[in-house]
Amino acid sequence: MSDDVFIIGLAQHKFGRFPEKDSLDMASEIAMAALADAGMTMADIDVMGCGSLLEAGSGQRILHQIGATGIPVYNVTNACATGANAVRVAYMEIKAGISQVGLAVGFEKMGKSGLLGLAAKVAGADKKVWAPAGRTGSVMPTEGVLGSGMMPAVFAEIAMEYANNNDGVGFEQFAKVAEKSHAHSVLNPYSQYRKAFSLEEVMNAEVIAWPNTLPMCGPTGDGAAAVVIVSGEKLKTLPDDVRKRAVKISASVMTSDPWTAGGQAGPDVNTCTRMAADKAYEMAGVDPQDLDLVELHDCFATAELVHYDNLRLCEPGMAGKFIDERGPWRDGKIPVNVSGGLVSKGHPLGCTGVANLVEVGMHLRGEAGDRQIPDAKVGLTHVIGLGSTCAIHILEKVS
């Protein structure tokens, strides 16, 4: 088995809607930017992980643009955890000693997609004869009939379950999360939206799926992000200026959702996150209180709040108090989503899980510009893919 794995090159595209570029333009540009950042070309790369949900199987198409050398390409999809999976397959090849240098690319071209979930499954008006189908013998699409599988509703329910189990959590606390993230986004030039909202504006905005109002929902958009990672052995051979900017991957952990009673009614994103977090802290030898910043999966502001607790950023059951006391603000106890989070930055599915490593990596290098968390040494990234998957990476500044 190889020693530690390090990020030596990173790049992210601005999030947003870019009709003038196609997905290959964006992914190729960012892959080349990450390579240039590492002082490398495709000639140096042993393995590629590529994540895109809507254009699965695109890794080779990118290589056909930027450098086709015959290396293995792992095209991965895993819902919203797709990008983190792309990093992890390259990481595993290096860890296994099969490869020395890996490139991971995550991208998505979504444009303005509207509500995500089960929109295609609403009953049609064709001639109909009810016939049981599928594993639950349903006679028609059940979206809106047996609850909702739409993302704003699913993550609202997850958050309300937390409110049911813990005191001091409600609509106002969820809204405060969005207020915080949008305030952070103003400093991030990569963010799709960079507009601050007052708490009142968040609470009085259009309700999408209560308690999620519009500014509490992550927008769809286009994005691309890439990292170049190397073995410790390889790092030793690289120039000083590359080594100085290297970021160590202290933990890379992935879990799927284990059986839980409640998980039969709706996705359980808590148990798999708690399992992954505990394992990641142990692997890295890091305590949650050591974290200088966290980029966690806030597809909705409601989702962010439950992960304060799942990631042990607050005392058990105290996520409401944590946001009330401004713990996750950039000048708080543990800054969370200083990028503006997915609710501001946007959530181009396959891109997200790579982009959060890029974001934390920029802070650890001291290259995050106006939004820099001063003297950041340790950071954590977290993504959830419904179905469900959790992927966590802990990154540390070297030297």
């Binding site: 009810w130 028609m140 799926a209 209560w210 998980g263």
Partner: protein, 132 residues
């Protein structure tokens, strides 16, 4: 009503409408839908049909204001923990869909309603939950 069909097979219309789960005879884990094995204890089964309670409490919910095209909003989607075991997703019906009215931990009871008839005259029946 001979010509009725449940919207999903875990709603039984045999006698008083009720929900049925597949229960692992080894560990007691409950599931909806056809099983290949038990995800909790990893045994291949067997499974038996277990009748679930008609009553339960709301564990989590959302009031959908912006629904997908073709659906009427607002409506309430909820996670309901049934008394005695079983957790199921369904709409909260026969009550005003407002945050003031729908409460966490609220006791609810199974209720059914018609989804209309097909071209052969068969009526599809759905379930939801109403305040108990």
């Amino acid at each position: 009503m001979a010509n009725q069909i449940p919207v999903v097979d875990y709603l039984s219309l045999d006698g008083a409408p009720h929900l049925e789960a597949q229960e692992c005879e080894n560990c007691g884990a409950l599931y909806f839908g056809r099983r290949n094995a038990c995800a909790k204890c990893f045994k291949p089964g067997p499974f038996k049909v277990r009748r679930l309670a008609d009553t339960g409490t709301i564990r989590g919910f959302s009031i959908i204001q912006r629904a997908v095209p073709g659906l009427t909003a607002p409506y309430v989607s909820a996670l309901v923990d049934l008394d005695g075991g079983g957790s199921v997703k369904g709409n909260i019906i026969n009550t005003e869909p407002s945050p003031e009215n729908i409460k966490l931990g609220m006791p609810v009871r199974l209720a059914t309603y018609s989804l209309g008839t097909d071209d052969d005259g068969t009526e599809a029946v759905a379930f939801g939950f109403q305040p108990a």
